[in-house]
Symmetry: C2
Subunit: 479 residues, 2 copies
């Protein structure tokens, strides 16, 4: 059996790796576009399936990804965790290919596979020798509509996702903090629910829930195939037509519409005390535009300005947060900021910091607020603007050395309201950001009324050691 | 045209009239049961409609109420305000009775009418001379399934509810605070949405939304008719059979299931600054069991203990909050606490206080916390326990002098998981509460992890005078 690693896109991870995230989320640079982006091909099959081909001839391998326009934010209320549960169940076989065969074949040919679920999309990928591409496409096309589920398959897998929740959330104070902050940030939008699901709802997920959700959202007209690697566009198109092209359009699939946010008028805060906290932290998330909502509102440069602002404020040891809090004032041991523009609906802009010895979270927060106030009042210098933009674009160039990263940029962009052209133009969009725009974005969006501040502290109360939410699944049911 | 007064059950009102609410929500006393409660009759028609008859022969009038088991918590996500909107639209006529005729007839016969929407139910009532009862029952039965709506009717009424939102919410800082606190208290349950709806969603409500919702929830098997007044049970049953009895059972109506809350682990707080605030306030709501959830969890005495606790803590000038904050410490000018057990899902227990001159909200909150800590640590005295129970039962006796109040007790109880028998036994349930139970309830449920604390302050920033959420509807569209 292959080891299957399900990646759950989780903003809590941001806290731990703001820099890494910034790399992985930034689309192509201009020079990258000359190298590869300009050669990206974009097709649409008659059944509605979109195909993106990214040539990369350095090695005789391809990364094949299929992305479905469905994520946790599309779940029926009361069924949180269903999108991610279905992602797991997609490995359970079809009438043609019983459970395990697909993974076994990928392993036998020396391939890798993976799957992931976010608020806005669900994706599956394999990296295989080019000559095996058609094989994995056939498997993937087969399970787009042919999934077979029984209670005997579904119920043990439910224990797996419950255990995954234990590991990712209940046993991770920072993830718990992020979960609580999301619930408080979104007053109405389903982004407030955890992607992994609320435990009590996960426990009630059934085979019928999974099959209904699958039929509602999985189909060629809701999917994008991204193929990056050693293949010509026309050859990739031919393979796609021979595999996915045979699947009928699913007319029941409708565009996604989620409940939107009311105006945000009250600064919120919350405190999570957890006995496992070794490093307290203060974190704040602001509700801000994503690339998609900025585009829909006809506000060009909005999300790009926030991207640059995020970099200047909080990426790396030259950032304002780091310099002010860690180097100059010595009130923090860790500090940074983040923004991810890729969301179909509103996005989050945030900062976090962990205090040095003897520093309270209130002191630390006041210093972070001072950093933000300074950007709002005085703006940013042209030097730091240019440095940020150059660094962001350079990072993107380095990052695209990874074939899977390239495929992921395009896939996630296409899932969240952007086009291939939007991705190609990312470097020029970033280059166009002015210092005034950065300051305006800070003034407009870093308004505490639009935010939640979270405090993570060590719970030193004697008992119970486990918080109420951290009930492990029965040991005998663990898989 | 009759003046139609739509009552929207809104917890924000609690802040202004905790005592009145405590009266109006307490069911019958034991002696009341001897006077009236014992004579309450309970029938069920073949089509599923439930009938409750409460004899009251003091005057030749009856109060006729129909309650539907549908409220704001049953709305489709993205359609907030729909239950209340439909309540308005129910006055817009049927094929048999064009818009206005029902209200005109009620007015002509000297009757009164009213309607109301809560999270858990929607109700309509008329108070008329007994000989006119059949007339209003015929009208009410007619609109249970015969409502006719066109865009010409629906769209102007949408402006009416938008204006109602303006008046009730946007222009009322305490209501705005309550709205924000609900959104923060409920992490997953639709009780977090305002009953009146989020403005941006109300603006999009359509005729089809209203008709779909109506067909999904309005029918005899989802309704309870309560008749209080000068009529014998058998006569009321006969009239009910002759009117509502002719309506076919609606098999599409299923029991309500709402998304439930995850464990609450983080104390939350929020601040609402509004230029119209004259009296700042601190308010806290805890998520606690309702009568229904206590019953479902087989925890007898749970909600009764909270009722007594609410009375001891915060009802009247002898309550602990009032004595400590207003009389002894002189830090508050207003202080109280409240609990309403009638909710199909979890309920709220809360307190509020407004500071005296020169007192900060933080100081005031600390004193309120001290009051709560003392109840948790030391419990309540047998004297105050007995005084509270006697007063609660006596209040209920006086309150039942109002025929409509009686009808409302039974109706709201039956809508929120209680039975006629539960209502009848309320006095003995309250009498059975012990001091230990009150202390245990305080310790168990008044845990800040389960709470939101709201701070209401005056917004003294120069502009804009109107908060972003308070956009008036077009003046020319006001009705």
């Amino acid at each position: 059996m292959t080891f299957k690693f399900n990646v759950l896109i989780d903003r809590a991870a941001i806290l731990a790796c703001a820099l890494a995230l910034s790399l992985s989320q930034s689309p192509l640079s201009a020079s990258a576009a000359e190298q590869a982006g300009a050669k990206v091909s974009d097709f649409r099959l008659e059944n509605g399936l979109q195909l993106v081909v990214i040539p990369d001839h350095r090695a005789p391998v391809v990364t094949h990804m299929i992305w479905y326009k469905v994520g946790a934010a599309d779940e029926t209320p009361g069924k949180s965790g269903l999108a991610h549960f279905l992602e797991h169940l997609m490995f359970k076989g079809t009438a043609k290919n019983p459970a395990g065969r697909f993974s076994t074949v990928v392993a036998r040919i020396g391939g890798q596979e993976n799957a992931f679920t976010s608020n806005d999309y669900t994706g599956y990928f394999q990296r295989v020798p080019t000559e095996q591409l058609k094989t994995v496409m056939e498997f993937e096309a087969d399970r787009m509509t042919g999934l077979v589920l029984t209670d005997a398959i579904v119920l043990p897998e439910r224990d797996v996702i419950l255990e995954e929740r234990n590991q990712r959330m209940e046993n991770n104070p920072r993830a718990r903090l992020g979960e609580q902050m999301d619930a408080a940030l979104f007053l109405n939008h389903p982004y407030g629910k955890p992607i992994i699901g609320w435990r009590h709802e996960m426990e009630g997920l059934t085979r019928d829930d999974a099959i209904d959700f699958y039929r509602r959202f999985y189909g060629p007209n809701d999917a994008v195939v991204v193929i990056a690697g050693d293949i010509e566009p026309e050859a990739a198109l031919k393979l796609t037509q021979e595999t996915y092209g045979k699947i009928k359009r699913q007319d029941a699939i409708a565009p996604r519409k989620r409940p939107q946010e009311p105006p945000q008028v009250s600064p919120r805060s919350l405190t999570l005390a957890d006995p496992r906290v070794e490093q307290p932290a203060v974190q704040r998330n602001y509700l801000v535009p994503s690339f998609a909502t900025g585009k829909a509102a006809n506000l060009p440069g909005q999300s790009e300005s926030l991207e640059v602002l995020g970099h200047i404020l909080g990426t790396g040891s030259n950032s304002r947060m780091y310099r002010h809090l860690v180097v100059d004032k010595r009130v923090a041991v860790v500090a940074g900021a983040y923004y991810d523009s890729s969301a179909l609906d509103m996005a989050r802009f945030g900062f976090y910091a962990s205090p040095g010895t003897g520093v309270t979270l209130a002191q630390l927060e006041a210093e972070a607020d001072a950093v933000i106030a300074q950007v709002i009042d005085k703006g940013v210098t042209s030097e730091e603007l240019e440095r940020a933009k150059s660094r962001m674009i350079a990072d993107a160039i380095y990052a695209q050395d990874n074939q899977a990263t390239m495929a992921r940029w395009y896939g996630s962009a296409l899932m969240t309201g952007a086009t291939v052209d939007d991705v190609k133009k990312w470097p020029s969009r970033i280059r166009a950001v002015t210092a005034q725009q950065v300051q305006d974005a800070a003034r407009e969006w870093l308004d505490k009324k639009r935010s939640v501040t979270g405090y993570l502290i060590k719970d030193t109360s004697p008992a119970p050691a486990q918080p109420a939410s951290a009930q492990p699944v029965n040991a005998e049911k663990r898989t």
